[in-house]
């Protein structure tokens, strides 16, 4: 079948593809960042508003759908709350002891020193393959590549691209995301990797280490990409095979990544570049 009658059609396609190729190269080099910001600014505003609207609609439908289950859940949570209040009292006691001792040692926690920047999520990645979101903070607000992004429920991801007034965040559920983590109770080290299904898997846990179901997974700070002690998720199951060197754990994040509305950028954290050591080893 002859798809085109005039040679001009194909030439037109080729010239347009060349323009796209040039755009890609300029984009990768970062030259287009100001133009990108200028073009996207009105869209970011519209997207932010639409995102908030859709989250509201989504939550309402979801709540209506789960009305029956919500009643049971409320009863369950009330019971849990009563138990947690007792634990809270004990923990407050422990915290006051800790504060006293920390003051004595002039010790300040790394978390206390961190600065956070609130940002609205304005869009979700359109490719479907990569898992990222766009937030309405950029270089003008002091955001830079590599900064961790969190919510009150735990780690969301890290900044991978920044323009003047927006940034792209690679979510921890992306297949290319890797976060050095440890289990809170047993202190076993591992690496949290995103799965195609949107789940999380903690890998490279030494076979000897004990993994408790329900244990919290927190960032370890190893590798210098994330600050330590940010909650990543909770262990839901363990995979252990005798013929493998490491064991794995399925981890569930407490965050619903489909309905992210607001996030916190850890603006005081700068990732540590360890690549310099690689080059020294090479030479």
């Amino acid at each position: 079948m002859r798809l085109n009658g005039r040679p001009g059609r194909f030439a037109m396609l080729l010239s347009m593809l060349v323009i796209c190729g040039l755009l890609v190269l300029l984009g990768i080099a970062g030259i287009l960042a100001p133009v990108e910001s200028a073009v996207a600014t009105p869209l970011y505003g519209v997207n932010g508003a639409l995102n908030r609207l859709s989250i509201t609609i989504n939550r309402t439908i979801d709540e209506l759908n789960n009305f029956g289950r919500l009643r049971e859940r409320i009863a369950e949570l009330e019971e849990q709350l009563a138990r947690r209040q007792i634990e809270l009292l004990q923990l407050r006691e422990a915290a006051s002891d800790y504060d006293r001792l920390a003051n004595l040692l002039s010790y300040t926690s790394a978390l206390d020193e961190q600065d956070f920047l609130t940002a609205d999520v304005i869009s979700i990645d359109q490719t479907g393959i990569a898992r990222s979101v766009t937030i309405n903070r950029g270089t003008r607000d002091g955001v830079s590549v590599g900064m961790p992004v969190t919510t009150d429920l735990g780690l969301v991801g890290r900044i991978i691209r920044v323009s003047a007034n927006a940034s792209q965040v690679q979510l921890i559920i992306d297949e290319n995301s890797s976060v050095s983590s440890r289990l809170q109770t047993t202190r076993a080290e591992g690496s949290i990797i995103g799965q195609a299904s949107g789940a999380l898997r903690m890998t490279f846990i030494v076979l000897d280490e004990e993994i408790l179901q329900g244990d919290l997974v927190i960032t370890s700070g190893l590798g210098g990409n994330f600050p330590p002690d940010i909650v990543v998720g909770q262990v839901t199951s363990v995979r252990q095979f005798e013929f493998e060197l490491f064991q794995e754990a399925e981890v569930r994040s407490l965050i619903d990544f489909d309905t992210l509305e607001q996030v916190l950028v850890v603006s005081s954290f700068q990732p540590i570049d360890l690549s310099v050591f690689d080059s020294q080893e090479g030479s």
Binding site: L13, C20, V24, L53, D258
Partner: protein, 193 residues
């Protein structure tokens, strides 16, 4: 006028694709997942911008189709991790072939639109996947195929006909008295003789 209209229509499509649609689909998937596990954990998307570009390219002049593809691609890239211009290249190729096929057939039928949507979805997926690999990302191909491509194909095939109908309405209104319509008619007549 169709060229300027592209910014508005594709802008709305891109905004919907990055906000309301993914959340509604996530909700639909979670509801469907309660009924049948086959839907659980899938995360396909409706490629609204691609479908609009495809629908426009079927009846429009090639130059107009290229403008829509270029603008559509830029809008996709503004909200994805792909560099600016990458999706435009994929959409330009889709627009070129959609326009070429439409010139060759006597009448564009529902089956033609469905077949074009199927091929365009697979092509754009493969194109995006290749672009992400070239950028240094790594993905599990089979898992992505099952979790992303197959549901995306399903969603796109469901909505492509209504979108085509909507775009036809817009085209008729835009071209009623416009030069593009006259040019399109002349071209179509020339192609048949």
């Amino acid at each position: 006028m169709g060229r300027y209209l592209s910014i508005l229509i594709l802008g709305v499509a891109a905004a919907l694709s990055t906000t309301i649609l993914p959340q509604l689909l996530a909700l639909a998937v979670s509801l469907a997942g309660n009924i049948t596990p086959a839907f659980g954990n899938t995360r396909g998307q409706i490629n609204l911008v691609m479908l609009v570009v495809l629908a426009w390219s079927v009846r429009a002049e090639l130059s107009s189709a290229f403008v829509w593809a270029f603008v559509g691609g830029i809008l996709i890239d503004l909200f994805s991790i792909l560099p600016l211009g990458a999706s435009s290249a994929g959409l330009l190729i889709i627009a070129y072939f959609a326009n070429g096929v439409a010139r060759q057939v006597y009448r564009v039928r529902v089956f033609t639109i469905l077949a074009m949507t199927l091929l365009a979805t697979v092509f754009l997926y493969a194109f995006t996947f290749a672009a992400l690999l070239l950028l240094g990302n790594q993905y599990d191909f089979l898992a992505q195929l099952r979790m992303v491509l197959l549901p995306t194909l399903f969603y796109n095939l469901v909505v492509c006909i209504p979108i085509y109908g909507l775009i036809r309405v817009v085209q008729r209104r835009v071209w009623a008295g416009g030069s593009e319509f006259a040019g399109s008619l002349t071209r179509a007549a020339g192609a048949r003789h």
